[in-house]
Structures are given as structure tokens and as C-alpha cells.
């Protein structure tokens, strides 16, 4: 037992847990303010005011919403399959949150008071008879270094489908069932195009580790991003095509406008979560926004250089600023599209995914391989 408490594994686990807690709270705040930002930006686009009453400029609105969600009556319709109905929101949210551990927020940064803090921890653990040797002078701004990080992200996002299918089925309502089936069919179809589009970028960089991918784009003053072809400018065409395919399929994958067929209000009331209320509905809602953040993080890391940018080497903490700026750009894009575009028809959506996006993505792999063989 003594060896277990002294082992590096345990220290790693505890350190990771603390990091996870911090990043989790951060992501929850991002999600909360994303909802607020969406309402305000949409209001500006539609020439309205939007929520501006709770706090200065309505900045406390997310907390008011949260309190409202908690105190709403938690309705469970009689005809539902209880166990599955309760499980579905959890199945949607948990995999969505699990992706968090591979987000590359930034480079290795010096921690203020890190030396004092590690001294303190070592002394405290020595007092209970343990032999720890913690060094916190510099920390990594990611939770773990996973050598198949990208595949891990795809694996977790593919698990989210179950929550939607099961939620739609367990509700025992025709709107929910149709919404659930539509949503899962859409997610499965567009996941293919999304994964295939990424392959073109992988050919440029040759690694699946998200941190490695971000680190490899640091030349040219932090602007040698993969969208410009990464190691060689000759790869530019395949990278651009991949970026466009990724962007489109990412929007479809998260069921957002113009691909929000699963919750088309005019036909399906609210789609798979029609029968859900209170906190369970809030969980579905949060999962959608966490998924949006995830695909934005992936787009940033894979195509726009992750945390790279000018002066990151001198001031490592700038990395997280660049990273968040790029992620917020993609999140803004989502809102912008929602305010501008009408919804597709379902057959148009499926035809577009299978007959245009998928063949183009496949062709792009061939193009990227040829360019890679010639120029890399």
C-alpha cells in the first residue's frame, strides 16, 4: 500500500484530477456564456435587444437560467421507459465532457508561485510519512498527452449518438422517435466525411497526438498553420478542401443550423428532447454546446495552429489567449450561421452528405497523398 501512495501514477492521477476540475469549470463557464452570447448576437442580427436585464448588460443571465432549470418541475411522462429515459441525458453529456482531457489549451507555462507550492506539497506529504517529489515550477496546459488523442476524440463523439437514440426511443413519443432517428442518422453520415477530411491533414503532420499537432505548427513566427499546407506550401489545396469539408460536417455533426433537422421546430416540436424538462433538458442542452466547443477546438488545433501565434515562445501564457481567440471565432461562426441561413430539407441533407461531401473527402485523400509523395 505504501508503494501505491508513493507511486508516480497516483501523483499523476491526483494532479490530473485537479487539472480536470479547473478545466471543467472553465469549459462550463464557456458553455454558459456561449448561450448568452448566442442570444445577444442573434438579437443584434435580428435588430432586437436580447437578454440585458440580469446584471450589467445581462451578464448574469446564464446563472439565472441555471437556477430556473433547477427549480422547474421535473416531469416524467407516464408512458416512458423510466430507466432509459433517465439514462439518456447522462449518456449524451458524459462522453461529450470526457473529450476535455485531450484539449491542447497551451504550451508548457511557468506557474506563478509554482516553486513555493511544490515545496509546500512535498513538506505536507512528508509529514504523513510519504516520499513525494512534486515539481510545479512549470506546468502543461493540457491534462494528458495521449498519442492517439484525435482518435480518442472521434471515439467519444461517436458514443454520444446513443444518448440521442435512446432518449428519443425511451420517450415513447413520435416526435422524439423521429428526431432521435434523424439525428443519429445525420451524425453517423457526417462523422464519416469529418473523419475522412482530417486524414488529409494527418498526411501533412504524421501524428495523431493533438499536442504534437499544435506544437508542429510553430514556424514562421507561429503562423505556419496546417491550413496553409503545414510543412510545405504545395499541400495548400488539399488542406483548404479538408478545412471546408471539416467545417461543414462539423456543423452537421453537432446538429446546428442549417443542419438542425433533428429539432426542426415546425415539424418535430423539439426533436429527441421533446419530452424532457428541467435539469434533464439542461443536460442535453449543455451536451450540444460542449460538442460545439469540441469541434471548434479540433478545428483550431488541426487547421489554425492551436495555441501557436506570434511571441508565444517568449510569453508562453499568450498561447492560451490565441487558442481561446481561435476557438471563439469558430463558436461565433456557429451563431452567425444560425442568424443567416435557412434550414435544409432532410433529403437534401442526406444527398449532400453522401453524394457530395463523402466523395470529395475521398478524392481529397488521394490528392493529399499524391501531393505528399511529391513534395513532403
Amino acid at each position: 500500500m505504501q508503494s501505491l501512495f508513493n507511486s508516480l501514477d497516483l501523483q499523476f492521477v491526483l494532479g490530473s484530477l485537479i487539472k480536470i476540475a479547473i478545466f471543467w469549470i472553465f469549459i462550463m463557464l464557456v458553455v454558459a456564456y456561449m448561450v448568452y452570447a448566442e442570444r445577444r448576437v442573434l438579437a443584434v442580427i435580428q435588430n432586437r435587444l436580447g437578454p440585458n436585464r440580469v446584471g450589467w448588460q445581462g451578464l448574469l443571465q446564464p446563472f439565472a437560467d441555471l437556477i430556473k432549470f433547477i427549480f422547474k418541475e421535473d416531469l416524467v411522462p407516464l408512458a416512458v421507459n423510466k430507466a432509459l429515459y433517465m439514462m439518456a441525458p447522462v449518456i449524451v453529456l458524459v462522453p461529450a465532457m470526457m473529450v476535455l482531457i485531450v484539449y491542447p489549451f497551451g504550451p508548457e507555462v511557468p506557474l506563478p508561485f509554482g516553486g513555493v507550492l511544490s515545496q509546500l506539497i512535498n513538506d505536507l506529504t512528508a509529514r504523513v510519512g510519504l516520499n513525494w517529489n512534486v515539481d510545479l515550477r512549470t506546468i502543461n496546459l493540457y491534462i494528458t498527452n495521449f498519442n492517439v488523442g484525435l482518435l480518442y476524440v472521434f471515439a467519444m463523439t461517436s458514443l454520444g449518438v446513443y444518448g440521442i437514440v435512446i432518449g428519443g426511443w425511451a420517450s415513447n413519443s413520435k416526435y422524439s422517435l423521429l428526431g432521435g432517428l434523424r439525428s443519429s442518422a445525420q451524425m453517423i453520415s457526417y462523422e464519416l466525411a469529418m473523419s475522412l477530411s482530417v486524414v488529409a491533414v494527418l498526411i501533412q503532420i504524421g501524428t495523431l497526438d493533438l499536442n504534437e499537432i499544435a506544437r508542429g505548427q510553430g514556424d514562421w513566427f507561429g503562423l505556419r498553420w496546417n491550413i496553409f499546407g503545414g510543412p510545405t506550401l504545395a499541400m495548400l489545396p488539399s488542406a483548404l478542401i479538408a478545412f471546408v469539408i471539416y467545417l461543414i460536417s462539423a456543423i452537421a455533426e453537432t446538429n446546428r443550423v442549417p443542419f438542425d433537422l433533428p429539432e426542426a421546430e415546425t415539424e418535430l416540436v423539439a426533436g429527441f428532447h421533446t419530452e424532457y424538462s428541467s435539469l434533464k433538458f439542461a443536460l442535453f442542452f449543455m451536451a450540444e454546446y460542449v460538442n460545439m466547443t469540441t469541434v471548434s477546438v479540433l478545428a483550431t488545433t488541426l487547421f489554425l495552429g492551436g495555441w501557436q501565434g506570434p511571441f508565444v515562445e517568449q510569453f508562453p501564457w499568450l498561447g492560451i489567449v490565441y487558442f481561446l481567440a481561435k476557438v471563439f471565432f469558430f463558436l461565433f461562426l456557429y451563431i452567425w450561421l444560425r442568424g443567416t441561413l435557412p434550414r435544409f430539407r432532410y433529403d437534401q441533407l442526406m444527398n449532400f452528405g453522401w453524394k457530395i461531401l463523402l466523395p470529395v473527402a475521398l478524392f481529397n485523400i488521394v490528392l493529399a497523398s499524391v501531393l505528399g509523395v511529391l513534395f513532403l
Binding site: 508503494s3 482518435l151 472521434f154 471515439a155 461517436s158 437514440v165 426511443w169
Partner: protein, 193 residues
């Protein structure tokens, strides 16, 4: 006792419980969820074996694609609990005891013969590079053969699923032709009248 032992025991227990769930539930949807849990916990066990790529593939392909198909079919056909009409199971339960003993014997034999060897593989054994090298050099023929297999599966399932539709189209065409004939006949009758 290291952390990896705790991980193994936790996920092995989860896998066994979920596997029992697969075979003992009456409602197929619960069985499917049990199997998904088994697949995911096996993925974690693959990670403890330094096979991260296989673990990711396990979740993406098995849990994320194959099992979605199962769940889809169960929901599409809307299969609820089904009482078995024929009762063959009453003879099968006598098999349970011998099978259980056989299992115990198998485990004992395995533990005795295998012992506790040191792992010979490096930590890089399961990396994408190593796997790709193996797959595209030594095993390139089986790899290409699987692509043919997949193609056959696609064509086969399309054929099986479309057959019904072709019949429908035929039936509708026949019905249309019949009604047109009928309409023409009535028209002729009217004209005659």
C-alpha cells in the same frame, strides 16, 4: 498493487456484470446497452495492454458503428419483451453445471501453464506506426481481402434490404395498370352508354 491493477479489476468486473446483462435480459435494448458497456470496458483493458490504437478502434468501430446498427434495428422493428413460445431451454439448463465446471478447469489450466511471464513488447508496440508497418507490408494481402469482404457485405445488405421495395414497386405498378384498365373500361362503358 499498482493503479493499473485496480483499473483492471474494476473494468473486468464491469465487463463481466455487463456480459451477464447481455444474456439475461428479456428486452433486447438492455442487452445491447450491456454489450456496449462490455465493449467500452474492453477498450480500457486494451489501454492497459499498451494498445491505444486498438482501444480507439474498438470504441469507434464496435461501439460507435456496429452497435449503433443493432440499436437502430431494435428500435426500427420496435421489439419489446418477447416470451419464448417453444420451451427448449429446460433441457439446456442441465448444460449449465458442466459448462461452469469446464470454465473453472479452463481458467485453472490457463493460470497454471501461463504462469507470470514478463511482457516482451515495448510500449511502442501498439503505436500507429508499428501497426501500419505491419499492415501495409507483411499483411497487405489480408488487408486488401478485408476490403473485398466489406464491399461484399455492403452489396449483400443493400440487396437484402431493397428486395422488399422492388416488390412494392411492382405491386404498385400492377395496381396502377389495373386501375387504368378499369378506368378505361368504365370510360368505354360510358361512351357505349
Amino acid at each position: 498493487m499498482e493503479i493499473v491493477h485496480i483499473l483492471f479489476l474494476a473494468f473486468a468486473a464491469l465487463a463481466v456484470v455487463a456480459a451477464f446483462n447481455v444474456i439475461l435480459q428479456r428486452n433486447p435494448i438492455y442487452s445491447a446497452i450491456g454489450l456496449i458497456v462490455v465493449l467500452c470496458s474492453l477498450a480500457v483493458l486494451f489501454l492497459t495492454l499498451y494498445a491505444p490504437f486498438i482501444a480507439a478502434m474498438q470504441v469507434i468501430v464496435y461501439a460507435g458503428a456496429i452497435m449503433v446498427l443493432f440499436v437502430f434495428v431494435i428500435m426500427l422493428l420496435n421489439i419489446r419483451e418477447e416470451e419464448s413460445k417453444t420451451d427448449r431451454q429446460k433441457y439446456l439448463k442441465f448444460l449449465a453445471a458442466p459448462l461452469f465446471l469446464a470454465l473453472l478447469g479452463m481458467i485453472a489450466a490457463v493460470v497454471k501453464t501461463v504462469g507470470n511471464p514478463a511482457p516482451r513488447g515495448t510500449d511502442q508496440l501498439g503505436s500507429v506506426q508499428t501497426l501500419a508497418e505491419g499492415m501495409f507490408t507483411k499483411y497487405v494481402l489480408p488487408f486488401e481481402a478485408t476490403s473485398v469482404l466489406i464491399l461484399m457485405a455492403i452489396v449483400g445488405s443493400m440487396l437484402l434490404a431493397r428486395r422488399e421495395k422492388a416488390e412494392d414497386v411492382e405491386r404498385i405498378e400492377q395496381a396502377l395498370a389495373a386501375s387504368q384498365e378499369g378506368a378505361e373500361a368504365t370510360e368505354k362503358e360510358e361512351v357505349a352508354a
